[in-house]
């Protein structure tokens, strides 16, 4: 293989590529030959090859030149040369997206796809589907249906795959071909069967009942095609995953996957094993046969099988450690596999499952070949080390040394970032490792080419450095950056130094000197920061330090940008009010991470999960709410709650509620879904029975709600002036005018409807709806400051939480109910402790700051002493009152 590659390379070097020097304009000139009669097939084929070559090299064709070439190409239909015709099909497919009026070849292609020449038919179908849009699809529908059930397998496959592509532009039309696809599933040809199953699933995938039926039917008949069986396993696994633990009804589904473990095709057995180990519900007894299949593959002579098996084992090493440990001997053998990818995965799997004693040996083994593997696998190694460090905190020095060695080597950004991430995680998790970790990172930024990474590390140094035993030693590293690097480094370094100045009083003087030097910097941003920090630090005021240096800005940056833009455009005399910007909750960032980490469904046809950058929850709602004029006068949105289900799922109507808090108003947003196909709802609204003190300001009903659509209605309420009344339970009833209608068309039978109502579950308004989480880096400083300041009022209460039996549970409940953010990792309880202090912070609607300290003691039940400090007395009262 390798010698073949070399030969090929040499050939290329020697100018072996006949298309090396072709130019677009020349080729397009040559394409005029297509217009000549009679057609010269050999010449034209060669020119077409050149056009295709150019297109595949990424050459851009303008729409005019593409159209001209396309129409010249259409004249080649008069030639009967098979090779030329097939090149024309390829040309049509490539140019169909660039040229205009490509529809011109429709009849010619239809003729070819229904004609006698089998060599033309499949390719003609593919070309035809590439030029057809949703309006034209009706015209060729009849031919497509015939082609799907054609006796020629190539034709049938081409039609099925094309149908799958067509679902993107005209899903409704393709849905009508379900009978033909059904027939094709029974085909003897393995590819046709596979493609037909793909189409069938795609048509039905939004309807779970239909998928269930499909699976039930296909698992009974034995499919001939191993590809189709693999696909069926994926569908079944997805179905099992979605339905969760709903009893024994799914047993036959699982039995099917289990039976596939004994299939004669390796592909199928692997797929089944992979599905079983990845299912959440799998019990250890069910797991055993699947693992033994993977174990068998580990010693297979085929590298692909070994790779697949060890990769799967690696993925599930954390969720099923015991089962994977059974394969340890096989994995040990794979450590020295000649394929480095397999070796890496084997070692990292062993690291995940192995005991503390084997860590050092395995690390040595990896370091032997870490330079030979690609970045992608190095990241896998780093992730394994991260898991290891969390598992065996005592081994941190070995791991840290290894990581720093890796950090010094060459590598891409993703690789370096994952190492830095791991070191940061270790530092945060393990106080013993902090000093060494920071030292390694300091060394790393001395010579780091990735600006964003270096800035992150500088930020971390600023956060953690001041609290180490000897803060001054980090300043040299940071100040070095100011001397050398580009402006972004320097700005980051300035901010980090300011943190030291604010936290360590004895270093303040030195920091001031450094900052003064930075004020001469050639870059605006660096100078601005230096001046800003130097000014604040010169005031010698603790609370200024806390609010403007140590704590990060707690408002949403993107919302701030938008509001400032609006402010500049408007001609208002008023000063800009920073309180109008929504406070961003630190939770939002964590949520995004968990979403990104979720593995996507097993069906690879859906493609890799996209990871869009998400705006905070509030910002998404602001966009939605800005469409309702009545809500504009309420001021800025303060907080939006999680979605609350007011109905059980799978009822006639589904109603979900979101509570939006404004400074003085509460807006309830009801998202209603109509699941009855024979009913059209009008004037849909939710009537609430608010608790005492609330005033209903306005109701905004949803005018119309057809089947399978979601409409929104709003209620605007005024918060009670007495804060203690703002917590309560609201009764809710869905009211609407129902009209019977034709299920297929959705047109109502009569103009007159009848009023009806539907009782919903009660809606609770809690303090957390009115409180936005705030992340405090230095909570104790803020607490001390609040004790000294006289604008804080304090409330204290002791009571026992009888319903919970562990500290973790108690913390979770308190945090959730109050909607406050735990600071300084105080929501994590060290193992075995019975006394814990939880530190909380937040801001109330209207802007009152809240700090809370909860001392928890675990006896038989949990007893809690809650101390609340807030800038408004009534807020402190409310929190204490609410927790009772």
């Amino acid at each position: 293989m390798s010698s073949f590659k070399r030969e090929k390379k040499e050939e290329e070097d020697g100018g072996g590529n006949p298309f090396q020097n072709i130019e677009k304009t020349t080729v397009l000139q040559e394409a005029r030959t297509f217009n000549e009669t009679p057609v010269n097939p050999r010449k034209c084929t060669h020119i077409l090859t050149k056009i295709l070559y150019l297109l595949n090299q990424g050459e851009q064709f303008g729409s005019t030149e593409a159209t001209e070439a396309f129409f010249a190409m259409t004249k080649l239909f008069q030639s009967k040369d098979v090779i030329l015709r097939r090149m024309v099909y390829l040309g049509i497919k490539e140019l169909s997206s660039i040229a205009d009026d490509v529809i011109i070849v429709t009849s010619s292609l239809t003729k070819d796809m229904t004609g006698k020449e089998d060599l033309y038919r499949a390719a003609a179908i593919r070309a035809l589907c590439s030029i057809t849009d949703s309006t034209m699809l009706q015209a060729i529908e009849r031919y497509m249906k015939q082609a799907i059930v054609d006796r020629n397998s190539a034709v049938s496959s081409a039609a099925l795959v094309s149908s799958l592509h067509m679902t993107k532009i005209a899903g409704d039309v393709v849905k009508r071909w379900v009978n033909e696809a059904q027939e094709a599933v029974n085909s003897d040809n393995i590819m046709v069967q596979y493609h037909a199953l793909g189409v069938l699933y795609h048509i039905r995938k939004s309807d779970r009942l239909a998928v269930t039926k499909l699976v039930a039917k296909l698992t009974r008949m034995s499919l001939k095609s191993p590809y189709a069986v693999c696909m069926l396993i994926r569908i079944t696994a997805k179905l099992l995953e979605e339905e969760g633990d709903s009893g024994n009804s799914n047993n036959h589904l699982f039995e099917f996957i289990d039976s596939c473990l004994r299939h004669k095709s390796e592909m199928v057995t692997y797929e089944a094993a992979h599905a079983i180990v990845n299912l959440k519900r799998t019990s250890s007894r069910e797991l055993a046969p699947a693992i033994s299949i993977l174990q068998l593959f580990c010693s297979s002579p085929k590298p692909t099988l070994r790779f697949a098996a060890v990769r799967t084992l690696n993925q599930v090493a954390i969720s099923h450690p015991a089962a994977v440990t059974a394969c340890n001997i096989d994995l040990e053998n794979l450590i020295s596999d000649s394929n480095r990818s397999i070796a890496t995965l084997a070692i990292t799997t062993l690291l995940k499952t192995g005991g503390e004693s084997s860590v050092e040996r395995l690390m040595k083994q990896i370091s032997m070949f870490v330079s030979e593997i690609s970045d992608e696998f190095k990241v896998v190694v780093v992730q394994a080390i991260r898991a290891l460090a969390l598992k065996f905190p005592r081994k941190h020095s070995v791991l840290m040394n290894f990581l720093s060695a890796m950090l010094r080597e060459e590598g891409g950004f993703d690789y370096k970032a994952s190492i830095a991430d791991t070191i940061i995680t270790i530092i945060e998790d393990n106080p013993d490792a902090k000093e060494t970790g920071l030292a390694h990172l300091c060394e790393f930024i001395e010579d780091c080419e990735h600006t964003s990474l270096a800035v992150r590390i500088l930020h971390l140094l600023g956060k953690e450095g001041p609290r180490t035993k000897q803060p001054s030693r980090y300043i040299r590293f940071i100040y070095n950056r100011v001397l050398l690097e580009d402006p972004r480094f320097r700005a980051g370094a300035v901010s980090a130094m300011a943190q030291f100045g604010a936290t360590c009083p004895d270093l303040l003087e030195n920091i001031q000197v450094l900052l003064t030097r930075c004020q001469m910097d050639p870059d605006d941003e660096v100078r601005d920061r230096a001046t800003y920090y130097s000014n604040i630090l010169s005031r010698q005021d603790k609370s200024l330090y806390n609010n403007y240096i140590i704590e990060p800005m707690k408002i949403s940056i993107s919302a701030l940008e938008r509001s400032l833009q609006e402010y500049i455009q408007g001609d208002t005399e008023q000063a800009f009010d920073i309180k109008s910007i929504p406070v961003v909750s630190p939770l939002a960032a964590e949520e995004i991470q968990t979403i990104a980490q979720k593995t996507d469904g097993m069906l690879s046809s859906t493609g890799p999960a996209s990871k869009p950058v998400q705006a905070s929850r509030e910002e998404n709602y602001i966009k939605e709410l800005s469409n309702v004029p009545e809500l504009q006068q309420l001021g800025p949105l303060f907080k939006s709650s999680d979605v609350v289900e007011l109905t059980e799922s799978e009822t006639e109507f589904v109603v979900r509620c979101i509570k939006h808090s404004y400074t003085k108003h509460l807006v309830l947003q009801f998202n209603c879904t109509n699941t009855l196909s024979d009913l059209l709802l009008e004037n849909v609204r939710v009537q609430v029975d608010p608790s005492e003190g609330y005033n209903i300001v306005k109701e905004i009903p949803c005018p119309k709600l057809p089947y399978n659509e979601t409409g929104t209605s709003y209620i605007i309420l005024e918060f009670p002036s007495d804060l203690s009344q703002s917590v309560g339970t609201f009764g809710a009833v869905l009211k609407f005018i129902a009209k019977d209608c034709d299920p297929t068309t959705g047109i109502p039978d009569t103009d007159e409807g009848y009023g009806d109502e539907y009782i919903l579950e009660d809606l609770e308004v809690t303090p957390s709806d009115q409180i936005q989480r705030v992340s405090k880096v230095n909570w104790s400083a803020a607490w001390d400051e609040a004790t000294e300041a006289n604008n804080y009022s304090m409330m204290n209460i002791v009571f026992s939480l009888s319903s919970v039996s562990t500290l973790e549970e108690a913390i979770k409940n308190v945090v959730q109910y109050l909607g406050l953010q735990a600071a300084e990792h105080s929501d994590k309880v060290p193992e075995g402790k019975t006394v814990h202090t939880l530190l909380l912070a937040g801001v109330f609607r209207g802007g009152a700051d809240i700090l809370a300290q909860a001392k928890l003691v675990l006896a038989d039940t949990v007893t809690m002493e809650l101390t609340v400090k807030a800038t408004e007395e009534s807020v402190a009262e409310l929190i204490v009152f609410a927790i009772e």
């Binding site: 217009n35 011109i104 429709t106």
Partner: protein, 202 residues
């Protein structure tokens, strides 16, 4: 020497020659049916199977030693703009008119005028054959009346011919196409003779 003889035979049109003709006209005038009539028995499509053409389709047929490649264009309003792409390299045009559709005769006239004014057509002495199709219909106009309505008498620089036809039965089609064959042969011979004279002068 042998190749010169071949060329000579070719120039004089003795050898069987391939020609391109363009078949145009409004939608539902019967273009595809007309072409279908000329095809070999084995390639013929059942008359009930003929559906509106989308874009164009290429058909081949023979007439008196001349191999025709017909570009059967779609007559639908949406696609008429695309006809012009095929004007350049055709040797003759067959223009099919639905003689029973009096209402759209003005549309036919518009399209014809556009064709005659097109730079790829106006400068060439290209023969045009008109089929006044659907002559069996009760309200069909006679070919004379069609010719008058379309103002064919004003076409001075091109040979043209109109024949009443019924594409379903094939009546009138053969006569028209024989005229076209004759014209194309002359057209090519004339063109080639000029070249030939130049050839022997050298």
């Amino acid at each position: 020497m042998g190749s010169s003889l071949k060329k000579l035979a070719f120039f004089l049109g003795i050898k069987r020659k391939e020609v391109n003709v363009l078949v145009i006209g409004l939608n539902n005038s019967g273009k595809t049916t007309v072409i279908n009539h000329f095809k070999n028995d084995e390639e013929k499509v059942e008359k009930t199977e003929i559906v509106p053409t989308v874009g164009f389709s290429v058909e081949k047929f023979q007439n008196q030693n001349l191999a025709f490649t017909a570009f059967d264009m779609s007559g639908h309003g949406r696609y008429r703009d695309l006809w012009e792409h095929y004007y350049k390299d055709c040797h003759g045009i067959i223009f099919v008119v639905d003689s029973s559709d009096r209402l759209r005769l003005v549309v036919v006239k518009d399209e014809l005028d556009l064709l005659l004014q097109h730079p790829d057509v106006s400068k060439r002495r290209i023969p045009i054959l008109f089929f006044s199709n659907k002559m069996d219909c009760k309200e069909a106009l006679s070919s004379v009346k069609i010719a008058a309505a379309l103002g064919l008498d004003k076409i001075m620089d091109k040979p043209w011919h109109i024949s009443a036809s019924n594409a379903l039965s094939g009546e009138g089609l053969q006569e028209g196409v024989e005229w076209l064959t004759q014209q194309i042969r002359e057209y090519i011979t004339n063109k080639n003779l000029k070249k030939f004279y130049r050839f022997i002068e050298i």
